[in-house]
């Protein structure tokens, strides 16, 4: 049984840049508390994926630290991986080799030391939990965007970490699929800390507990009502078009 407890993902004075011109984090600090859903909102190309890679220890910041429940995991993916799992953008995933969802989840369960029948049963259970057990024997290339996202969420859940990072999980998914996915994410966020990126403010608005507006660094952070103010979003997006949509939803 999963025990509910506080989870804290913290960044302290993080600085990260690709060379001199491309600065992604400028001494940013934050504290995400879970269980719950944190949405990182920012336009395409704003550095959200790089931000995630810094959190996961895949990229080492030039300055600052990443802590999970007080443990320093900066620049160490193995250490960070004990607390965090992640779902990448669909575009970064290979789909040209014949691999099934069942095999994908089974492989992820290796890190928990499961083998044989127990591992297969656990994989099937996870695929059932995310609602894609009926396609578990198809190849990844045969799945829709929504089905693939669910498989990747099952793979991330297989590692049984307290924190899940979801990178643009709603991209490449049809509107109906998005609703279902958000439901699933919200459900998981009741027991884990989920940090999710999106470039669409309307999607982000509906169900998050905490917001981060990101554009080459953290522009603003706080509750949904704090964040959905015209000037903050204009600063991040440079346009009022999306913002008007958000205000309409509010």
């Amino acid at each position: 049984m999963h025990v509910h407890r506080d989870i804290v993902l913290e960044g302290r004075n993080l600085v990260f840049a690709y060379g001199a011109d491309e600065v992604i984090l400028k001494g940013d600090s934050f504290e995400f508390r879970g269980p719950g859903l944190v949405t990182v909102l920012g336009p395409n190309g704003s550095g959200k994926t790089t931000f995630f890679k810094v959190l996961l220890g895949l990229l080492k910041p030039q300055e600052g630290r990443v802590l999970v429940n007080g443990v320093d995991v900066t620049g160490d993916p193995v250490k960070a991986g004990r607390f965090m799992s992640y779902v990448p953008q669909l575009s970064s995933l290979r789909r040209d080799i014949p691999v099934t969802p069942l095999e994908v989840v089974e492989a992820a369960l290796r890190s928990r030391g499961l083998h044989g029948r127990a591992r297969r049963e656990a994989a099937v259970k996870l695929l059932e939990e995310v609602g894609v057990s009926e396609v578990m024997s198809r190849t990844l290339g045969e799945l829709s965007g929504g089905q693939l996202q669910r498989v990747l969420i099952a793979r991330a859940l297989a590692r049984d970490t307290d924190i899940l990072l979801l990178d643009e999980p709603l991209s490449g998914v049809d509107p109906r699929g998005r609703e279902g996915l958000l439901e699933l994410v919200r459900e998981i966020a009741q027991r884990k800390l989920i940090v999710m990126t999106t470039h669409d403010p309307v999607q982000a608005l509906k169900r998050s507990d905490y917001f981060v507006v990101f554009n080459r660094g953290i522009v603003a952070q706080g509750s949904p009502y704090d964040i959905y103010k015209l000037d903050i979003l204009r600063k991040a997006y440079g346009t009022v078009l999306e913002i008007e949509k958000c205000l309409h939803v509010l």
């Binding site: 890679k53 996961l56 220890g57 895949l58 993916p77 193995v78 960070a80 991986g81 965090m84 799992s85 992640y86 990448p88 970064s92 995933l93 290979r94 040209d96 080799i97 014949p98 691999v99 099934t100 069942l102 095999e103 994908v104 089974e106 492989a107 992820a108 290796r110 890190s111 024997s137 190849t139 990844l140 793979r155 590692r159």
Partner: protein, 252 residues
């Protein structure tokens, strides 16, 4: 020939999953260099030429993996690697042919001929083939995981960079170890084509490995039987049989 086919084809799905086709294509060049240098070294030091070749081949291949880890683009690293190994192998072969003309048969390494291999060499090759096939099967699942999404593998505790060196070791040993049987010319076919066929017909990763290995093994055995009938080297028949299988897979 069956053993060599088994060893090389068991690497094939891993090469496909890890997108190492460029490296696999470059490997025969470094294998030829290692064999030529190994021969010279064995004559000078009085050691076994096969063991010398295997030992020399590893540092040569590791330079390629090192270049990739240093952030050099895969295509550029391949070009540099092939430029170095092919030029050096021509120099090393020249050295062998001019200094030891009556003792060395480099043609058997270039064209490949299982019928010219001695019983002791055949046993060594079979043992190495068995070890490499077993290793390939053991590491396969994790290698596919890395191939799908290397970052996820990293946060799952997989030491991807160490695995790169392990895979380089396996591929290099397979390439040098099987060179005498399969030959320089056809070797990359034996590494690349089985998975190309498997990818077209398999429904999952396990099937991909099974199809690659089974087809290649059968083609290997059949090639020896057919070689004398059609009066061609077994490696040529092997390559053509795999090519025919690939064409058939396209009709699916």
């Amino acid at each position: 020939m069956g053993g060599a086919a088994l060893a090389l084809s068991s690497m094939s799905p891993i090469v496909a999953a890890r997108r190492l086709g460029f490296f696999a294509s470059a490997l025969p060049h470094s294998a030829l260099l290692a064999v030529s240098l190994g021969y010279v070294l064995s004559r000078v030091l009085g050691l076994d030429p096969f063991a010398c070749s295997l030992l020399l081949s590893l540092p040569i291949s590791y330079t390629f993996t090192f270049l990739l880890h240093r952030g050099v683009d895969a295509e550029i690293a391949t070009s540099v690697f092939v430029a170095f190994t092919s030029s050096s192998s021509v120099a090393a072969m020249y050295l062998v042919l001019t200094r030891f003309p009556a003792e060395a048969s480099l043609w058997s390494y270039i064209l490949g001929d299982p019928l010219l291999v001695s019983w002791s060499e055949a046993l060594t090759i079979l043992l190495l083939a068995a070890l490499l096939t077993a290793a390939a099967v053991l590491v396969y699942e994790v290698e596919v995981m890395i191939g799908l999404d290397a970052d996820f593998a990293r946060v799952s505790g997989v030491r991807v960079e160490l695995r790169d060196y392990l895979l380089t070791t396996m591929l290099t040993l397979a390439s040098v170890g099987m060179l005498r049987v399969v030959g320089f010319v056809v070797q990359h076919v034996a590494i690349l084509l089985p998975a190309a066929i498997g990818t077209r017909v398999a429904r999952n990763a396990r099937q991909l490995m099974l199809v690659s290995v089974t087809l290649s093994f059968l083609a290997g055995i059949l090639s020896v039987a057919l070689a004398s009938v059609v009066d061609m080297p077994p490696s040529a028949v092997y390559g053509l049989l795999l090519m025919a299988a690939y064409v058939l897979s396209l009709l699916r």
